[in-house]
């Protein structure tokens, strides 16, 4: 079983992409859980969301404390939310940042694999403005998901709500994140 922890801020869509990731994994025939950590809900407050992915039925219903992957959607959470906490030594820290992986290691104290990508820029260049979708692409790449499966799910989930123009921009953002993280796969 793999466990993922998302760090974002209220309104950034960390919970949304955590759920889309669960749908992607379901397409792959996996068993999944996706759940946010609920506190006083307000825009801009730090939020966490979690995924579990397994080949067999997932029975455990407790929190995630030692994730295999930690994802930081908002760079300002790097120090305050301690995203390296409990992260497995052979795990991966994926960060939306302009810093280098070494800078991220210095700032978090996490010495394992770091994937650093500028998801804000990827989103801005694509014309969407939200870093959550490129981060979803990056996580999917690290997990070794096939891009086609990821795109199919995003197209189906977001296509119902978005115009085809905005959907296409989101797919560009998704691919941008996926490509930026490709090659750092931790296997499954």
């Amino acid at each position: 079983m793999q466990e993922i922890r998302w760090h974002g801020r209220g309104g950034q869509g960390a919970k949304t992409v955590s759920q889309i990731l669960a749908q992607i994994n379901l397409r792959e025939g996996k068993h999944v859980q996706s759940f946010p950590e609920y506190g006083p809900e307000r825009s801009g407050a730090p939020v966490r969301a979690y995924n579990r992915i397994a080949t067999e039925e997932i029975l455990v219903h407790s929190g995630v404390y030692t994730p295999d992957v930690a994802v930081v959607v908002d760079e300002t959470l790097l120090e305050t939310e301690n995203p390296g906490d409990g992260l497995k030594a052979d795990g991966t820290l994926i960060v939306n940042t302009t810093c280098s992986p070494d800078d991220v290691r210095r700032r978090t104290g996490f010495e394992g694999t770091v994937v650093a990508l500028n998801a804000n820029k990827i989103a801005d260049d694509a014309g969407t403005g939200f870093p959550n979708i490129p981060m979803l692409g990056a996580v999917a790449a690290v997990l070794g998901c096939e891009l086609q499966v990821v795109e199919d799910e995003v197209r189906e989930t977001m296509g119902a709500k978005l115009s085809s123009d905005i959907l296409d921009k989101n797919l560009v953002a998704l691919r941008g994140g996926y490509d930026a993280a490709k090659g750092v796969s931790v296997g499954r």
């Binding site: 669960a22 996706s34 759940f35 997932i58 219903h61």
Partner: protein
């Protein structure tokens, strides 16, 4: 088809398939999305239900009572303080033998105010005369909502049924759920023929009468008869569910690796899943441990529980609510189940998970480890509490 959805959505889907005549509901965390999904179904024409957006849960249950007495198939959903406000009318619903089915998104009662899961709301309604079912997963919450509808409407039972699902842990967590096809679910639930519908003006009947000492007692005894009809109906409807849907639920509770177990947990709700992981791990290490997960909590299946645990040496009963000044309510039931039996395990009572406190596999492993050295009659023990 396997889908991923929250517990909310799973329950709302079951409600959509049941398509009751009336849903009267007031939103409250962590139940709100059930109401929201259902309102969406109503307003998009997917169901022909009359949705009554009431101004409080007291009104929600009151509207349910009126609609059910009129002869409608009626559902609602609530949590915590909402249930507390409903309880006054819930007693009346059960005394009028109205088969109202209700999802209860378990949440701690105030105060201090808290939105997270425990079972204090379910325990508050324990003596209200409603059947209560607990579920481990979104899948179980879905399946038991359908089963509950048939159980509530069974002649001879004719009682409200509460389907408990842990707030947030199940309601807000996306899990794999395999809903039935609409036609399969609808066929299983069937159509509803009310007993003495108020709107049947050709056959006038009296509802909610005044009952003085000369009749009150007998009317309450009749409610007991309704509860007494539940266990047999519960098993029959589970069997019918298996035959019609291929999903097997068998018994008032799920015994998990209990054969030859020397130590066991008794638990209700989502924590049972976490406990299964622990049991599997300890079994792999050669330890004889098991689990009993309650489905049917009211009526309480005393004899069946006692028989299932008869050979176990130590049992830890986990209550997710306090009963101040007493043992936990589930523990008290377990103790009552064994009181006249020669063969009984040593029982110990643990309180866990209040106000959403997480219960981890490590903590449950520790419960198994310390169980044998904990002497009975030492009062309450606590899991994951800072003292």
């Amino acid at each position: 088809m396997r889908k991923v959805m929250t517990g909310h959505k799973a329950v709302a889907e079951a409600m959509r398939q049941i398509e009751p005549d009336v849903v009267a509901v007031y939103p409250i965390t962590p139940q709100s999305e059930i109401a929201e999904y259902y309102a969406d179904y109503v307003h998009n024409g997917r169901v022909r239900t009359e949705l009554v957006p009431v101004e409080s849960e007291h009104s929600a249950m009151s509207a349910c009572v009126g609609a059910a007495a009129a002869g409608g198939r009626v559902m609602t959903a609530t949590a915590s303080q909402g249930l507390a406000l409903m309880v006054e009318i819930l007693y009346i619903a059960s005394s009028m033998r109205l088969p109202i089915v209700m999802a209860l998104a378990n949440r701690a009662l105030s105060g201090p105010i808290n939105i997270h899961c425990d079972h204090s709301d379910a325990y508050l309604a324990r003596d209200a005369g409603a059947v209560q079912i607990f579920t481990e997963s979104a899948q179980e919450a879905y399946d038991y909502t359908l089963i509950a509808q048939r159980l509530a409407e069974r002649k001879g039972v004719s009682l409200p049924v509460i389907v408990n699902l842990d707030g947030f842990t199940l309601t807000h967590s996306v899990q794999v759920v395999e809903p039935l096809k609409d036609e399969v679910a609808k066929r299983f639930v069937g159509t509803y023929t009310p007993n003495y519908p108020l709107l049947d003006v050709e056959h006038p009947s009296t509802w909610g009468p005044f009952a003085m000492p000369d009749y009150y007692f007998e009317l309450k005894r009749a409610q007991v008869a309704g509860m007494e009809a539940v266990p047999e109906a519960f098993l029959e409807i589970q069997k019918a569910y298996e035959e019609e849907t291929g999903r097997k639920y068998q018994g008032y509770f799920e015994p998990y690796r209990l054969e030859d177990a020397e130590r066991a947990l008794v638990v209700m709700g989502s924590t049972a899943g976490t406990a299964k992981v622990v049991v599997d791990k300890l079994r792999d290490a050669g330890e004889k441990v098991g689990l009993l997960k309650m489905w049917m909590y009211r009526p309480f299946p005393y004899a069946a529980v006692a028989e299932a645990l008869a050979g176990v040496k130590q049992v830890a009963v986990l209550d997710r609510a306090l009963s101040f000044g007493a043992y936990g309510a589930l523990y008290t039931d377990l103790a009552a189940a064994f009181v006249h039996r020669d063969q009984a395990p040593a029982l110990v009572n643990y309180i866990y998970g209040l106000g959403g406190r997480d219960t981890t596999p490590e903590q449950l492993t520790q419960v198994f480890e310390e169980m044998s050295s904990v002497k009975p009659d030492q009062g309450l023990h606590y899991i994951g509490l800072r003292e």
